[in-house]
Point group: D2
Chain length 149, copies 4
């Protein structure tokens, strides 16, 4: 996968606000998904194509720390990175800031994922989708290289 990930931008929609006049906390979970989807396009593996090949990446866990509220009218910038990949599962982390001012952090979060086939059964991507496996490995290697410096 590509090492340089362009950040993802999401413009706040009115239907995403709640009675406190700020974004409802459940929406951030959705924007984390938007960010992953956008990344997969950047990496050359659009999720709809993977899904057609029978490769699903369901979410195993989510954690979010809500730092500052997001008001309607703004745009958030979300940066994600692959934290780890062990062949069967992987972890992603996210930082969400104001689009114009990165010192305003709205959220930090993580998700973990596994690989399932169309019948929602675990999938060994090394064997069943070697190109996807390879891409994950390359990205993980880069991360190790960066960490070693």
């Amino acid at each position: 996968m590509k090492k340089e990930i362009k950040p993802y931008y999401h413009k706040i929609q009115y239907y995403e606000t709640d009675g406190m006049r700020i974004v409802h906390h459940s929406n951030y979970i959705r924007w984390m998904e938007e960010t992953r989807t956008d990344y997969l396009v950047q990496a050359g593996f659009p999720y709809d194509v993977l899904e057609e090949r029978g490769i699903l990446f369901p979410v195993l866990s989510v954690s979010c720390d809500y730092k500052t509220a997001v008001p309607f009218g703004g745009t958030v910038k979300i940066q994600m990175q692959l934290d780890w990949f062990d062949g069967l599962r992987y972890g992603v982390s996210y930082i969400m800031t104001d689009a114009d001012d990165e010192s305003i952090v709205h959220l930090t979060g993580t998700t973990t994922h596994c690989f399932l086939n169309k019948d929602l059964r675990p999938m060994r991507i090394k064997k069943e989708a070697p190109d996807v496996y390879q891409a994950f490995c390359e990205y993980a290697n880069e991360l190790r290289g960066m960490a070693a410096k």
Copy 2:
């Protein structure tokens, strides 16, 4: 299908409110679906069972008139009825009021639907799902009887 339809009640959730501190208008469309789903259970044809049999009822059109806003904390009462059925399509109408005071009308709306099979192709339910066809006919006949009185 059963002629007497118990009304459906929906308790307003916080995540359904928006920055105006009232329910966002897109949610009513979802409650109309909740009402249909509840009705199908009452009629002995739960939607998940129909779906497993390969019978889908997608929405062809929606119309809503928003009469009065619904604040958080309340409960709405939704009454639906089958307006027409011609063997290939059907129309449903809805009236949504305060749960305790029917003189407070929040919304009137309609939806139309067709029958599709699992491949999202039109389905002749008279032939392919005669029990469902029969139930629709009986309900439509009752309506005609009621109208004739």
Copy 3:
């Protein structure tokens, strides 16, 4: 308001799909709102600024005709126009097509709106927000001019 409205594009998100593997019909209502919000930015009247001035545009009615399903992975193009404006209310119409192929129409729809103040009471924008009133009039005049040709 500006006469030339740039169309609005919405990339389909996974969380917008349903068990039929197509976009759930309630989401189109939200994209119509996204389109209006985007238009107001184009017209120089961002909705968050209007809201801060105490001008709200709630939805009075919605109607949608669902023409063809939208699968995950695609992008839709939404074109809206002001259909009428009488000083107290206005109507908008929408056509939603595939982003790349306008011959694939997914939806046609309309919404109507009124003007409310922060206390959710009717507002005479001619008096209370003359710049907004003016912008609506200019746009409506242009429409008439176009119709007259």
Copy 4:
């Protein structure tokens, strides 16, 4: 607050499913909110009444472990408990199972919350809402008593 909390039940809606034909993971976050709202009614402090008094409980963090997928047609049972309360913040945990078979665990999760006033500023509920403070203390004491046995 009441020590015995009746579990909360949520019937899965079609609009909550996604293209994998199971509930989209973002919805569980919403059901955790539904459970808290239901609990506050049981405890005699409905959230809409608290909100009118200017007491808000925003979410500071969320964590979820997704154990097994929830298909359309089912009903989930959610049991929550107050894990801790220090006067300024509190933590809640949740276990979500099949409504009929508690051995099928769908999710375990936690949320943390603080108290804000209407201007979204921190609130000392001991001073500003002593009845709410008292209720939290009693519930926390009970928990300690139960833990000591």
